[in-house]
Amino acid sequence: MYSFMYKNQYKAKIVSNEKLTAKLYRMSLDAGKITEKVVPGQFIHIRINDTLKPFFRRPFSIYRAKNNIEILYEVVGDGTRMLSSKKNGEVVDVIGPLGKGFSLPSKKIKQVIMIGGGVGVAPFLALSDELKKIKCEQVLLYGGRTKEHIFNMKEYKANGCKVSITTDDGSVGIKGRVSKLYSKINTDPERTFIYTCGPKPMMASVKEFAQKHGIDGQVSCEEVMACGVGACKGCSIDTSKGYKTVCFDGPVFNIKDIKF
């Protein structure tokens, strides 16, 4: 039988596709036992339609991997618009989990800070679930542009995560950028670890803050991808260790290595 070129390519049934806000959706996919293999920070590569539109697959950070593989996505273009119109029971073609995920903090770390901007919060619920297992104190600093980017974060709170929110227009939480919340961070580099994902200027500000205090951390990067498996080198970014592919060498990198 001709099956699949990749071991981790499969058809996944959409269990739910929920509209969280005017912009954000949360999709749950039945990936069977593959769900157990997910490392927080990894992504799945979805072929949205079996036609040529959209042409590329679309990569999505895995938001959660409890019973199903879940993604959190923002409608920004044709691909995500088509994805948002999918109904429960429809099937999409998935490759993944792919890429290198987050590594969990060492035992001496007492406080983990997750800093997310907009849909950049997407890889963090899976991470929060893992941090809860190792009983690490966790804080989520989340910045959205407007209330359209803010949704109910009860699952983080259920994991014991302290959530603070900013919006650019002040429609929810504190008005301003997420950097307004840095004062909440314990700046002892021996005890604190940072994870961040979001727009490049935001991650650059997190890097600057982390370096100023000597805090270690990881970033989850995003680039337009074609293959998603390290073949095309289309998503390569310049790092302190040379060009690296976001899809295969990343998407998670050490914060020190990335040039924003």
Binding site: Y6, V224, K233
Partner: protein
């Protein structure tokens, strides 16, 4: 059913391969039993020295295809031979090694180095990559094409395949020059030069400014070029350009291609080469053909 094909002295059990730069063998991901079904594998183009490639963005989606300017990011021939090539060879699938030089001397050095590893099937000369900043491409000039193919033929123990660019007035002139120089086969086509403009910034959407267009958008032009070249040369052609399905691949074979390479489709649907192979078999069965030769160049006019 005989699907076997030959390019020079190289034999392949079936006509399906992948286009260079579109496939990477990743042990953790690939199903080796499926990979082994392909006629040949063609790893990404290797250069004499390591290259870091072009600045991002390197790829942009277009209707029915993509534009890319990767810049042949690779580790250089020595690291390739001692690293990735070792892994590729373990698969036991015939290998076509794609190389590109900045000068004739570099092409000769690459050919020399590829004489050493055992078990390679052919060397493909990427004479047509449009992304490196040069005034013209080797494969835009019949004399330069002739000269490099001839030089490599003198050195290489492997069958030599010349990969051509479509960015020329008459591609048959270049193909004839390659044949006269002793090429054992022709790969065609590489990508079309293209430009995508971001109207918000009025800048190119690609870091390198221009890029190469590939995918189903270019397939009819590719089929036409293969047909025209097949009328003018007798050496085998590896046809490529937007093959997504078996029907696409069959068009190339009917136009005169001996082999077909699946390229951009690998990014979208990694099992595309396997489905192409399956579909060719089904078509032959349905049409009561038992040898690929009966199909090759059988275009009715």
């Amino acid at each position: 059913m005989d699907l076997s094909v030959k390019i020079g002295k190289a034999k392949f059990s079936n006509p399906v391969t992948v286009a260079s730069g579109t496939f990477e063998y990743i042990k953790d991901y690939c199903s080796i039993s499926d990979l082994k079904k392909l006629g040949a594998l063609t790893p990404k183009t290797v250069t004499l020295y390591a290259q870091q490639g072009n600045p991002s963005p390197r790829i942009v989606e277009i209707p029915s295809g993509m534009i890319n300017a990767i810049g042949i990011e690779n580790e250089g021939i020595d690291a390739f031979i001692s690293g990735r090539l070792v892994e590729f060879k373990k698969l036991g699938v015939p290998l076509i090694i794609s190389v590109s030089g900045k000068t004739e001397t570099e092409f000769k050095m690459l050919a020399e180095k590829l004489n050493k590893p055992k078990g390679l099937s052919a060397i493909e000369l990427n004479l047509s990559c449009p992304n490196l900043k040069k005034k013209s491409l080797v494969a835009q000039d019949p004399k330069a094409t002739y000269s490099i193919v001839k030089a490599v033929k003198r050195i290489s123990k492997l069958p030599v395949i010349a990969k051509l660019t479509p960015n020329v007035g008459d591609i048959t002139v270049i193909a004839k020059a390659a044949q006269e120089a002793g090429a054992d086969g022709i790969s065609m086509i590489n990508t079309f030069s293209g430009l995508v403009i971001d109207t918000k910034t009025r800048k190119s959407a690609i870091g390198n400014f221009t890029g190469g267009v590939s995918g189903p958008a270019i397939r009819p032009m590719a089929v036409n070029m293969v047909y025209n070249v097949a009328q003018k040369v007798s050496i085998p052609i590896i046809g490529m350009g937007g093959i997504m399905t078996a029907d696409d691949a069959l068009q190339f074979i009917i136009a005169g291609a001996t082999m077909v390479a699946v390229g951009t489709a690998n990014f979208i649907e990694p099992k595309a080469p396997l489905e192409v192979l399956r579909g060719i078999k089904e078509y032959m069965k349905k049409n009561k053909l038992n040898n690929l030769k009966q199909l090759r160049g059988s275009l009715v006019r």
